[in-house]
């Protein structure tokens, strides 16, 4: 599983699993507004923590992908698996990690 994940990471870095561009638009809008409802429009935090590159530093992709897909029980972070697949979550993390 670990191997598979890193393989997935690798291929997504090579753009193979990036969502198509119109889907990227939808995801960016989702990130800005719907994730932004808790993390802030500028992702500097709100009810949820800030999601700026420095906040995510040192946290592995698969850990953050799991957070997005499954949410975190006992906290306000909801699961998004119904709306976002693993590749899309990984792509979103790439967007979050990129300095703005």
């Amino acid at each position: 599983m670990k191997k598979l994940l890193s393989l997935m990471l690798f291929t997504s870095c090579a753009f193979a699993n990036d969502p198509p561009s119109e889907r990227q638009e939808v995801l960016r809008n989702l990130l800005k507004h719907d994730c932004g409802a808790c993390h802030g429009l500028t992702l500097k935090g709100g009810l949820g923590p800030a999601l700026l590159p420095e906040n995510l530093q040192g946290k592995p992709d698969d850990f953050l992908v799991t957070t997005i897909l499954e949410g975190r029980k006992g906290t306000a972070m909801p699961p998004w698996r119904q709306f976002i697949n693993a590749d899309e979550a990984l792509w979103l993390i790439g967007v979050l990690r990129k300095p703005k």
Partner: protein, 387 residues
């Protein structure tokens, strides 16, 4: 010259006439992404001005001075802006914290309180100068500052608010603003996420994210402490995921009933204020965000969290049933009723519009352009407790 004078006088008075403006029926529409506040004449559905560069307004709210001349805008980035609605200009803007969630104006109109996430606490400012009057860090005793939510004005020159991370409700008394007095209620229930004050200023009720039911404080009987209402409603393990926290401000306080959004369930709760029992849970289209009562108390309008945020449902209070479902557009974020309720204005973020409905026929009356609108605030709020 003597001939000229009367003409000049006429010109001046004409000018003054053109500029006369009353402020009792103005409204402020927040443009989330641009960080603007639009000033509308709400009777004429007409935009009068745009006040720009108010910072990050992604979660913004507005209170009004009681002469209805000034609007105070609370931004996400800790910004507090004072707008003169007579002259369409920004009077002053300060950034008073790193991250904030809302604010309130005191009973006498002289103080503005802001609730902050970082640094967690409440800051109080003079409404005239925006100078700091009191700084109340939300230190729950362990040195960590809690995020503050559900800040409202209550009678007696006081404010009430809740500590999300510390499960407390505080009452801040500013009768002597140099010596703020705080009363703390602890262990009120886990993670209060927002709160409301009844329209008479008597009951302060906080919704709980991490517990079932709501925490209620009767301000006429503070000695009785916090009462948990609907304690058996929605146990943690039955909760659906919540994609946006419900808002309790603007709740429907209609006669004997209080209507509030359930959390983690697609229901609107009808609570009997006489005994705090659940009268009915009305199934609705999604996770409700706002449940707002028409001023006459006959209807409640409900909007929803993602992914059901294209809809708007209307509950008929007469028999507590759904009257109609409307689909105004993509991402319905907020509503505001005309002071006596004949119209409601609805912010539709992704369609860049404010949609106005006739609340009697439920027909659309107008669509007003606004970029990513997320909040609508009419100056009639100036005279209402809790707004």
């Amino acid at each position: 010259m003597t001939k000229l004078l009367p003409i000049l006088g006429l010109l001046i008075s004409f000018n003054a006439l053109a500029e006369l403006r009353a402020t009792g029926d103005l409204g402020v529409v927040i443009e989330r992404e641009q960080g603007n506040a639009l000033i509308f004449n709400t009777s004429q559905h007409k935009q009068l001005a745009k006040i720009e560069q108010l910072g990050d307004l992604s979660h913004a709210s507005v209170v009004f001075s009681r002469d209805q001349r000034y609007a105070y805008v609370f931004g996400r980035d800790g910004g507090l802006s004072k707008i003169d609605m007579l002259q369409d200009k920004l009077v002053k803007r300060i950034v008073q914290a790193g991250n904030s969630i809302g604010g309130a104006i005191s009973q006498d109109g002289k103080l503005i309180a802001v609730s902050n996430y970082t640094p967690g606490g409440v800051k109080v400012f003079s409404s005239e100068t925006l100078e700091l009057v009191a700084d109340i860090p939300a230190d729950a005793g362990d040195g960590k500052l809690s995020k503050v939510i559900g800040l409202v004005d209550i009678p007696g020159q006081r404010f009430a608010f809740s500590l999300f991370d510390a499960d407390q409700i505080w009452i801040l008394d500013l009768k002597n603003s140099k010596k703020p007095d705080i009363t703390k209620f602890k262990d009120i229930g886990k993670q209060p996420y927002d709160a409301l004050i009844s329209s008479d200023g008597r009951y302060y009720i906080a919704g709980l994210f991490g517990d079932s039911g709501l925490a209620m404080l009767d301000l006429w009987h503070p000695e009785l402490g916090i009462k948990r209402i609907l304690p058996d409603y929605v146990k943690d393990d039955e909760k659906l995921p919540v994609y946006k926290m419900p808002h309790l401000e603007g709740w429907a306080d209609t006669g004997d009933y209080l209507l509030a959004p359930a959390i983690g369930k697609h229901e609107v709760l009808v609570i009997d204020k006489r005994n705090w029992q659940l009268v009915k849970a009305i199934p609705v289209a999604g996770q409700p965000v706002f449940v707002m009562g028409r001023p006459d108390g006959r209807q409640a309008w409900v909007n929803f969290a993602f992914p059901d945020n294209n809809q708007l449902q209307i509950i008929d209070i007469k028999d507590l049933t759904l009257q109609k479902t409307l689909t105004p557009g993509k991402a319905v974020l907020h509503m505001e009723f005309a002071p006596r309720g004949e119209e409601v204005w609805v912010a539709v973020r992704d369609d860049n519009q404010v949609v106005v409905y006739d609340t009697d026929t439920l027909q659309e009356i107008a669509r007003l352009p606004a970029q990513t609108p997320n909040g609508i605030f009419f100056s009639s709020r100036a005279h209402k407790i809790g707004f």
